[in-house]
């Protein structure tokens, strides 16, 4: 069934959107939330399991202290209050992805609450209020067999791998975000993007949306324009890329408007996002099925972070990534576009370190976003994963600045670095890359080029200086690139004047 949709601009003429985002962050702890099983992504099925995460009788969970620390640091970075005392709770439901028949989560006592994050959208700031951030555990992964597309519909049975069951998750829930209007899809995307950057800066998660270590659920409702009320919401689950967050909001706005325009009611329900077609489809209705019968987890004692510990963790917080970006852009004098490219290439840290090692911002940017970005792209990695350090780049640029290398030779130094041939200086020495500044050798090469190209030489004698390019090329070829083109040009013009 295809949904009827209303054009986006028409939606805004009649309705105000309200957004709510629930983001699950898988922590990068070594071991699971309540047991010592490893957490590596991509292991063979059911190789990272034990009686606790399989929910076997008699197994007792114990909280991973590092996960609590990460939860508090996330909360502090989101300007949350940290609970003085809170408990875990059992969220009871029957589904094979949780072998215990409940998920250990937190209910009415989240560890972090009442925070906010200022989100920048096209130079405008939206304050997104954070309702809560709580600790819980991830579920297992189901593989549906027999259906046409691996989906649950039409499958005749399912296969479950519990490696992921019990990996620590932090669920971050916003309050309803209102007043974003036409920018609602952008605000949703920018919030998730900034939250991801924050998580990366905190170093508490791999933060890979493509691997599911950050997953977003998008709540959306519409209310009549100017009414100030909140309409019935739908929750679109597992939207796993930034672009999809934006698209899912846009789609649901258009779909809701069509339903409301027809005088019908929005069903409060879960929707599934389809990445390939860019649409949502109905999941289960929120009804009896959502009666989770929460109760305090008797097998885990309460968590009561001391104020001293909280303050100690506050001291470990990194500079806010958004503020840092603005500061660095001002310091470096990058344009908005240059800055966006830098961030997009994952080159912010390496460029900062290269500049710290003495290179100018524009030269650092030139290498990391030019030659090195190209090579990273070929290898399908980000620049910070290349076998070239900021110190290497700084040294190469220093050699260029002092006239020992030109850009072409510098690229050969990078070849050497990629081949693991040592430091830039070692590579220059071993490969004999330094520019020949000996005028004797250069002079001979220029004489040879003139002798081999008498027509060109005549033109230059007649004042057609532009023709010198052909001779410079010949000289550079003879010198195998190891000459300063500027000096070669000077010599040619001296000899032919």
């Amino acid at each position: 069934m295809t949904d009827t949709l209303v054009a986006f601009d028409d939606v805004l003429a009649t309705y105000d959107p309200a957004l709510g985002l629930e983001v699950h962050v898988e922590l990068n702890t070594n071991s699971k939330m309540f047991c010592g099983c490893p957490t590596e992504f991509g292991a063979e099925p059911n190789t990272q399991v034990c009686p606790t995460c399989l929910g076997l009788p008699g197994a007792m969970p114990v909280v991973n202290g590092k996960a609590v620390e990460s939860a508090i640091r996330i909360g502090l970075a989101l300007n949350c209050d940290i609970a003085e005392w809170c408990r875990f709770a059992r969220k009871n439901y029957f589904y094979p992805d949780m072998p215990k028949n409940f998920q250990t989560s937190q209910y009415d006592e989240p560890i972090c609450f009442d925070g906010y994050m200022d989100v920048d959208v096209d130079g405008e700031t939206f304050r997104v209020e954070i309702e809560r951030a709580h600790m819980e555990e991830d579920t297992g992964k189901s593989l549906h067999v027999g259906g046409a597309t691996g989906r649950i519909h039409g499958a005749d049975h399912s296969l479950v791998d519990y490696n992921r069951a019990g990996i620590p998750l932090i669920e971050i829930v916003t309050k309803p975000i209102r007043g974003a209007g036409a920018k609602a899809p952008d605000v949703a995307r920018a919030y998730v993007a900034q939250l991801r950057d924050l998580i990366v800066a905190l170093g508490v998660s791999d933060a890979r949306m493509d691997q599911g270590s950050i997953r977003a659920d998008v709540n959306l409702s519409l209310s009549p324009k100017g009414s100030g009320t909140l309409g019935t919401r739908t929750e679109t689950k597992n939207v796993n890329s930034l672009r999809s967050v934006e698209r899912a909001v846009r789609y649901e706005m258009s779909r809701h408007a069509a339903v409301l325009d027809a005088g019908e009611k929005i069903l409060q329900e879960t929707r599934h996002w389809h990445e390939d077609t860019g649409v949502t489809t109905s999941g289960r209705e929120k009804s009896d099925a959502e009666d989770y019968r929460y109760f305090p987890e008797p097998d885990l004692v309460p968590v009561a972070p001391s104020r001293e510990w909280v303050e100690e963790l506050r001291g470990t917080l990194p500079e806010n990534p958004t503020a840092r970006r603005a500061r660095l852009q001002a310091e470096w004098g990058f344009s908005d576009l240059e800055m966006r490219d830098t961030v997009g290439a994952g080159a912010l840290d390496v460029i900062e370190q290269t500049i710290a090692a003495g290179t100018t911002p524009q030269a650092a940017r030139k290498w990391w976003l030019g030659e090195l970005a190209r090579r990273a792209n070929e290898q399908g990695v980000l620049v910070d994963a290349l076998p070239v350090t900021p110190a290497d780049v700084a040294r190469v640029q220093a050699l260029v600045d002092e006239g020992s290398l030109n850009d072409k030779l510098a690229r050969q130094v990078f070849d050497g670095l990629f081949a693991g041939e040592g430091t830039p200086d070692e590579i220059v020495a071993a490969r004999g890359l330094a520019i020949v500044s000996d005028d004797g050798a250069l002079s001979t090469a220029v004489d040879n080029a003139i002798a081999a190209n008498p027509d060109v030489a005549d033109k230059i004698r007649d004042g057609k200086v532009a023709a010198a390019g052909a001779l410079i090329g010949a000289v550079m070829k003879e010198m195998r690139g190891q000459a300063d083109a500027g000096r070669v040009r000077e010599l040619i013009l001296e000899k032919l004047s």
């Binding site: 439901y93 589904y95 949780m98 189901s142």
Partner: protein
């Protein structure tokens, strides 16, 4: 303590995926009420000076170091499974939606 109704027992049975007949519901509802009443009698004993608690031990912050410890082999993990396929637990067709 309010008594547990037959409808409430039917709802709980549904949540717990237990198929109860009408006879069983008739039989169980009054029994569960008696159990709840018996437990509720504890409230009569507790004075105002006794705060409600969910835990028997007066402990907080029992944490584990973030260290990997040996678990089960896949063979051990799957040894009690009624059906296994591709080193995974095979479960019957799932009705309803994914969580």
């Amino acid at each position: 303590m309010p008594e547990i109704t037959r409808a409430e027992v039917a709802h709980l049975a549904n949540l717990a995926r237990i198929d109860l007949s009408d006879d069983e519901l008739d039989h169980l509802a009054p029994q569960l009420s008696v159990i709840l009443e018996s437990v509720a009698s504890i409230s009569g004993v507790a004075g105002d000076d006794v705060p409600p608690t969910s835990h028997a031990l007066p402990l907080t912050n029992v944490f584990r170091e973030d260290v990997v410890t040996p678990g089960l082999t896949p063979e051990q993990a799957l040894s009690g499974a009624p059906a296994v396929e591709e080193q995974r637990f095979s479960v019957p067709r799932i009705l309803g939606e994914e969580q």
